[in-house]
Symmetry: C2
Subunit: 329 residues, 2 copies
DNA sequence: TTGTAAGCGTTATCAT
DNA sequence: ATGATAACGCTTACAA
């Protein structure tokens, strides 16, 4: 049968409590004792029983990841990172898909909480900026970390300076000679777009900004609107890669060559950006890393081991084949 | 504080054990008693404590999903289905990424088992056909269900007749006039490719079949090999959508128009198949549904509620824009 | 620094 | 058909 804490205690010649202290990294254990316990545990291949730990400790050792449905590859990357951090700290992970737009989505999260009693939550966009949800979590006194929140109200988690990234991207195409640059927005990367224009001394044209919603379809719709203009843009900045793919699709349908006749760039560096022709110029965010950091910060906050922060991670421009010199007019 | 089984028992005027019987659908409870207990539980908003249940019952009420890394969107769909089934049966879900090729991947699964003690596992391709892993699971007497296993050795889970699907796809392009059809294989969809040729009375040419590994890169490599032939194919059947995208990429790089000069088709109907130009002809498999079914069958086997099976689900050809009439020679 | 004893909320066992 | 009581393996509170 499986070794219990009692067995380890006996083998190490100490009490159960001491073994417990070692495994929970509590203070007040002599170094020598600790080593003896660790050796005994290894010998017996001891693994703490999670259920017993939860029951006695009145906590679940569970972290819950809430996501709406941005891109599957994005979420899978985040999951990888979160899983890595959880593993290391002996926490489990529960997944919770949430329908952001839906009525009752906050209640669905409350159900999750009362059923699984997670020790903390991790929010991904767009849930990070769901005011109703966040307010309720505060009321319920449930800990949470955020990934890429628009506003980090002094919370914990991981962010990236999307505005600066967007502005850098703009500088890239401006350097290629583009002056009329369209934007299919999903709201917040817009600020960087405007910064980029301003820094280049280009007057923003409101007609060049159309609403999007981070989907392939809105990329097609946005591209149509922009390309049908009397004076169409020579470059289009899509708010994410899926949208950029929609632009690419519409361009191909019109027989427009990219990047010779139209430059296109996205955001996120999802795998699809490498798997389309031409491959997509985009901004890479270290999603896996951000998942890992958010989970680490959350667990640190739960365990009270050291202070938890909002960590800013670096971005990276990925210049590929969908951007090129502006065409002569 | 949260209601316990004891509170419900008191409120219903019965013993704890009777409440336990009701919640676990055990026999030997009078209908009237059952109703009284259920009413009391509702009044008190009682939810069984999972940790206590696991500890006392010596089972985890946990199902674990093992995946390597086919496409993220595929796994996300499967997860959705599995989650839905788990929710319904009050089981939790644990995720376990496994490096199929890696040394020690079986040990990593054993670690998962000894740590989380899941009541059952769900295997996705290519782990479904990992002989070493499956053998070990049998030895350890660990229950598992499979999704899209090549060989269903009398196991439980969900499958789809990939061979027939591949053959149907072949019939489609043969009807379009193609005779030289290449295949970038990842092993098992090959049988359907050969069936399709045979049914059309076309002699298979071994040179037209190249090895792939279900990746974008192998699509590029395979396409190069096939298109560099003296007598190149007019159509290429890629073993999955990612590979097909690689073919599309290479075709674009060579200035080959699809489908006018080359037809391409894939397998899986991942979102990318709609987001490339031209959109991809492919086979749709109901991944979400398969996840749900596999989890249901697994849980049925665990709980012993009725017999569990290997369920065959229907596929569907998605004819899009990447296949067209064969070019004149 | 280390140990003892009393739970944690449920299910299993054995009665009735 | 129902109930009393002892586990289950760990942590907490308190003691030494």
């Amino acid at each position: 049968m499986r070794a219990r804490i009692e067995d380890v205690a006996a083998a190490a010649g100490v009490s159960m409590k001491t073994v417990s202290r070692v495994f929970n990294r509590e203070p007040n254990v002599r170094e020598e004792t600790r080593l003896r316990v660790e050796e005994a545990a290894r010998q017996l291949n001891y693994r703490p029983n999670t259920s017993a730990r939860s029951l006695a400790g009145r906590r679940s050792y569970l972290v819950s990841l809430l996501y709406d449905n941005p891109s599957p590859s994005y979420i899978m990357e985040v999951i990888e990172g979160v899983l890595a951090a959880c593993e290391q700290s002996h926490y489990g992970l529960t997944l919770r898909p949430v329908d952001f737009g839906q009525r009752g989505h906050v209640e669905s999260v409350e159900t999750l909480i009362s059923q699984y009693r997670p020790d903390g939550l991790i929010l991904t966009p767009p849930l990070t900026d769901d005011a109703a949800l966040v307010r309720r979590l505060r009321e319920l006194n449930v800990r949470y970390a955020t990934i890429s929140a628009k506003r980090d109200g002094g919370g914990i988690g991981a962010t990236l300076d999307e505005r600066a990234a967007a502005a850098d991207m703009m500088a890239h195409v401006v350097a290629l000679g583009h002056r009329r640059i369209g934007h299919i927005a999903g709201a917040w990367r817009l600020a960087g777009y405007l910064d980029g224009l301003r820094q280049a001394g280009i007057e923003p044209d409101p007609d060049l900004v159309v609403e999007g919603e981070f989907s392939f379809e809105s990329g097609i719709a946005g591209a149509r609107q922009l390309l049908d203009m009397a004076d169409p843009p020579t470059a289009i900045f899509a708010a994410n890669d899926d949208t950029a793919c929609g632009v690419l699709y519409e361009a191909a349908a019109r027989g427009l060559r990219v990047p010779e006749q139209l430059s296109v760039f996205g955001f996120d560096d999802t795998p699809i950006s490498r798997q389309v022709w031409p491959s997509l110029t985009t901004v890479r965010q270290p999603s896996r890393e951000m998942g890992r950091i958010a989970a680490q910060q959350l667990i640190a906050a739960i365990d009270g081991h050291g202070p938890a922060h909002m960590v800013r991670v670096p971005y990276q421009l990925q210049i590929r084949h969908s951007t090129g010199p502006a065409p002569r007019r």
